[in-house]
Symmetry: C2
Subunit: 346 residues, 2 copies
DNA sequence: ATTGGCACTCACAGTTGAGGAGTGCCAGCG
DNA sequence: CGCTGGCACTCCTCAACTGTGAGTGCCAAT
């Protein structure tokens, strides 16, 4: 079993390797860290760490580098989340100053995070499933097309062009609008979807006859609602991957691909399990199923009035976990506070 | 001066180099292309081409590669835009089947284009400056916030949350809505902006007194309109850059940066001058001012009922211009036709 | 103008050898 | 029993060197 000091050695190796990108040897450790023992002793500890597969030597006689498992132990047991410097704090708050709009707030957040860490930053939109519909609007565009707009009480808007193949006068339009509004306004997104389904199923019921146009529009509204349920991401800093390219043995192609597709990242972030502080990390091979075996993701939960979501960072396995965890945590807190302020004043 | 055959030699060099990524020598040319002359003759021609700075030898005694100037001559005088194969055509049309929505159409287009060429694909949104406002909607969100929605006759929606620090009853709301609608509906985006400015300037005029809330909302509407004017892009395939990385001497960082910022690409595409077929290419160093000295962009204009815009490809200078020009042209034509169909039925 | 011949250049790949960082192991010591 | 200094060993890295071959430029001949 690996001793107390052995773990300290692991910590030193992770820190130095992240710092220098060079395999670290016993001598370096003795020089840079104040262990009270000789290099030979460190070597013995390192042999044990290697048995536990926490570190490896890239070749017979060079220093050691952490394995993914080593990073995992480091993150779980050794890393103290490093508080941000005051300069960093003011940087964040200056970034996040002012916005009222959720879109605005999230896009600033993601930029702050990438700026702060030099990694790819990710912010999840909070889920709007429990938001309630506050408005349904129909706008005729001519040529038989209708613009269908749905608004939630949280200020989200979803729109869709639908082809009804017909023109309507104000009376008809008002009637359809009223029917859809009655059905949906004040209901949650989730309920709204069910109610539409139910009504469409009542097709045969002569007492509640939706005409063809209304049915088409109801479908469009359903698609709008569906969009609220979808997990959306905001991303920034993907160009940073080009800078850190040497940290990836293979190509950065899978990373760029995941960034472009988004769905991979949504799933990945969805499967991560946060600790009691809302922090989580997924390291290297743990992401193999997503094609990101050389990358790590760290996330922090934030809270948008009940509907939680995550902010995260994507980068090479060889990343500075303490700093990055601190960054996502701090940014998540700022974001939570900002969204709460908006909300309590309501 | 460089002879007729000299230009043929240039063409051969460009084609072979794009094909093989290897500097091409006189022997290779004689082997692969049916010039009726010996290698020595080709060598003489190559010496002339080198004098004209159309080709260079990376080092004494290896084959030649085209310079940016060489690519330029190739594109302007030598490249025949290669028609697509039937398979490619059906691929495009299957990609573009179905959508009614402009967003949908453009996002499919950009995916078709990246799929077809393996490059980064770019589609510009048509300008909505001349679209006219068909609808202004106000939705109260509570906590003194108001959602402002503007819709154009082309079905574009822009929304914005604005803080009016107050709650209003239906009468007030109706009044404000009516005032803004009267001012804007039926007017073009450009005119609308001017009219708002003018009205805000009338602040002192006691005959047309906008109250504070209306003024705040008018500003929000102006921002919405501003958004319609902005040139927007849809991009796809940025991960492809990682595959073609070896074609870039330096890093792909500037390219990813430009893709993320978009504004650089908007300007670049804006400055390109199309030929009589709506095609344009900007090659290598010609893009130096945008930090993209190792990249090329080819574009084709498409037409969305008067409001034109461009589809384009971004890739390494060493790209297959004939094929890529053919691809953007074909896709632009499909897109034009699709948008026209929508429109004529109006 | 075109061609074959020829001397020349130079990148590339492989080889060799010295240097050095780092290891594993062992015997001795507190 | 843990720690230490010492030592032989490994093997990466770097630089110098070499042979090979592709490709060139030039020239005299056609």
């Amino acid at each position: 079993m690996v001793s107390e000091r052995g773990l300290e050695v692991l910590r030193a190796i992770v820190q130095d390797y992240v710092d220098t990108r060079e395999p670290v040897g016993s001598k370096t450790i003795v020089d840079r860290h104040a262990f009270g023992v000789s290099a030979a002793t460190i070597r013995n500890d390192m042999a044990l760490l290697e048995d536990e597969e926490l570190i490896v030597a890239p070749h017979t006689s060079s220093g050691r580098i952490p394995t993914d498992k080593g990073y995992r132990v480091f993150v779980d047991h050794l890393a103290e989340v490093r508080p941000l410097t005051p300069a960093q704090r003011t940087a964040i708050s200056s970034f996040l100053e002012g916005p009222v709009d959720l879109d605005d707030a999230l896009s600033r957040t993601v930029r702050a995070l990438t700026q702060l860490t030099g990694q790819v930053a990710i912010v999840q939109y909070p889920s709007f499933e429990r938001a309630s519909v506050s408005h349904v609007e129909l706008v005729q565009l001519g040529s038989g097309r209708m613009l269908v707009i749905v608004v939630t009480d949280t200020g989200r808007v979803s729109q869709r062009v639908s082809n009804v193949h017909d023109e309507f006068d104000e009376t008809d339009l008002g009637r359809m609008r009223a029917e859809l509004s009655t059905l949906l306004v004040g209901r949650s997104v989730r309920d709204g979807l069910q109610r539409i389904e139910a009504h469409l199923a009542l097709h045969d019921d002569p007492t509640k006859p939706w005409d063809a146009a209304t049915r088409v529009l109801a479908r469009a509204v359903a698609e709008d609602l569906e969009e609220f349920r979808q997990d959306r991401l905001v991303l920034a800093g993907s160009a940073n991957l080009a800078k850190r390219e040497s940290d990836f043995r293979g190509s950065i192609y899978p990373l760029l691909e995941a960034i472009e597709q988004q769905v991979t990242l949504v799933r990945l972030m969805g499967e991560m399990v946060a600790d009691e502080h809302g922090l989580a990390a997924s390291i290297g091979r743990e992401n193999e199923a997503f094609g990101l075996a050389e990358a790590s993701v760290v996330t922090s939960d934030y809270d948008a009035t009940g509907a939680g979501a995550r902010v995260g960072l994507l980068g090479p396995t060889r990343m500075d976990y303490p700093t990055n965890l601190a960054a996502v945590r701090a940014v998540a807190r700022y974001l939570t506070r900002m969204l709460e302020e908006d909300d309590t004043s309501r």
